[in-house]
């Protein structure tokens, strides 16, 4: 399973890429492979203020709906509209075109709570 070294990870299978003051967030290859056949993505509202571990998006497969959590406190500054027309991007390019949202984070120190690639690899076995 692909777990890129340059990303951070949550227990709940989101990946986080630092982009200056912002973080880009998606779900991991492992998560998309567990979900399979993503058929709908509910994106967070732009400018929404979110807390760490708050459920702010929903990814639905044929079988079930799964919450996606904010990895840190911040504000939603970008959402991936392409997922509305083509939710399968999440399966095909989980770390690329399948990103879900971008947060402007309040405090970069919050990211210290997150896992690095090695720790996430260990979690998913």
């Amino acid at each position: 399973m692909n777990v890129p070294d340059d990303l951070l990870y949550t227990e709940t299978h989101e990946w986080i890429r630092r982009e200056g003051e912002n973080v880009r967030v998606g779900i991991t290859d492992h998560a998309q492979s567990e979900l399979t056949d993503v058929v709908y993505v509910e994106l967070p509202k732009m400018d929404r203020q979110v807390n760490a571990r708050e459920a702010i998006a929903v990814v639905e497969s044929v079988k079930a709906a799964s919450d996606i959590y904010a990895p840190a406190k911040g504000t939603v500054v970008e959402v991936n509209k392409a997922l509305e027309a083509d939710p399968g991007l999440l399966n095909r390019e989980p770390f690329g075109e399948g990103w879900i949202f971008v947060l402007k984070i309040d405090n970069p120190d919050d990211l210290k709570q997150l896992k690095d690639a090695a720790a996430y690899r260990q979690q998913i076995g």
């Binding site: 058929v39 709908y40 509910e42 639905e60 044929v62």
Partner: protein, 366 residues
């Protein structure tokens, strides 16, 4: 459900070997999917798919009084069955509530095979045992037998590839015994996908041999092993009910829209009085099929149904239909609102999405 450790079907190792995702279902460890629910679904709609149905219960009822007695336990009319024929039917409680939906086959003049839902097998057996007459023999052979469903427009081709061009496929809803490479098989022309196909029952020790023979011969017709995920989307597109979701002891066949499988002209069967009352007074709610009007989130069980802002029912089954590419589902809706063409709303995470009550089945072969 069950608190005990889930059981493994005789095909469990095959599923693991094929890389299936395994989940507990009805007391069994079952493959939910091998590669992708959508791919497996399309294999069954376009070619052929094979499902492990070894978890389903198999009960045998025999003896001189077996037919007459079963007619007092089940809703459909056993007398209509010739040897080798089967019918869909219900096992009801006194209140008319559904204990189980099943298929009963007359396999000999005085011997019947009941194929029941995995999670209800023990309950069905106990219920039947409680009412059993002295000269009726009742056996639960589930542990020693397995089965597969082979479903899809090319299932007949595969049947002939396995058994020979000159061997007749049983007629719809018929069952026949056939031998193949030393295996004794019972083959029924039934299924739960809306496609042509067969269900094959065998002794547990023959399970892997038949499964692999079918997969091998099936390559030429595009066979795919299919899990419970595809089984659910396939059955829901054609509006076949799922026990535990669309059917329950709190629901009767009339409100589920399945009165066709109830013969109220029979003088007596358990639940008959209650059903007559429902027929007379009308059921307060009806099970309807619906389709979402927009490409929003798929409906799921327990979502609320609204008509003009008034809550009128609850979804019991829902998914994204791989064939229609729209959300579909079934819901119990209060009778005045349960008419075909009614515009309803499904509430999903606090937001209402438009849907229409449709005629069953939701998917029909073009």
């Amino acid at each position: 459900m069950t608190d005990t450790v889930p059981k493994k079907t005789p095909l469990y190792e095959e599923h693991v070997g094929l890389g299936a995702k395994i989940i507990p279902f009805g007391g069994w460890l079952m493959p939910v999917q091998y590669t992708s629910i959508v791919e497996e679904h399309q294999a069954v709609r376009n070619n052929v798919g094979i499902f492990d149905i070894s978890h389903m219960g198999q009960l045998l009822v025999s003896g001189p009084a077996a037919g007459g007695w079963l007619n007092t336990m089940l809703t459909n009319n056993i007398d209509k069955l010739k040897v080798g024929q089967g019918q869909y039917t219900f096992l009801l409680n006194e209140a008319g509530g559904i204990i189980d939906d099943l298929i009963v086959y007359r396999i000999e003049e005085q011997k019947f095979l009941l194929v029941v839902n995995a999670g209800r097998t023990d309950e069905d057996f106990a219920w039947l045992e409680r009412y059993r007459l002295k000269d009726v023999d009742l056996k639960n052979r589930s542990a020693n037998f397995g089965g597969v469903a082979v479903q899809g427009p090319r299932a007949a081709e595969l049947f002939h590839a396995l058994f020979g061009e000159n061997v007749n496929l049983p007629a719809r809803n018929h069952i026949a015994d056939l031998d193949l490479e030393g295996m004794r098989l019972s083959i029924a022309r039934t299924g739960y996908t809306g496609e042509d196909g067969v269900e094959v029952f065998f002794r547990a020790e023959d399970a892997a041999k038949f499964w692999n023979a079918a997969l091998k011969k099936g390559q030429a017709v595009g066979i795919k092993p299919c899990g419970l995920g595809a089984r659910d989307t396939l059955r829901l597109e054609v509006c076949y009910p799922l026990n535990g979701s669309d059917l329950s002891p709190q629901r009767n066949p009339i409100e589920a829209g399945l009165g066709f499988f109830v013969d109220l002209t029979k003088p007596n069967f358990i639940g008959r009085e209650a059903l007559l009352k429902t027929k007379e007074n009308g059921s307060p709610e009806k099970l309807v099929a619906f389709r979402m009007q927009t490409k929003g989130p798929p409906p799921r069980p327990h979502y609320s149904v609204f008509d003009n802002g008034e809550r009128v029912g609850e979804v019991t089954s829902g998914t994204l239909s791989p064939s229609l590419n729209y959300g579909i589902g079934m819901a119990y809706v209060s009778a005045p609102h349960a008419t075909i063409g009614t515009r309803i709303d499904i509430e999903i995470r606090g937001q209402k999405f438009p849907a229409t009550i449709e005629k069953k089945p939701l998917y029909k072969k073009s």
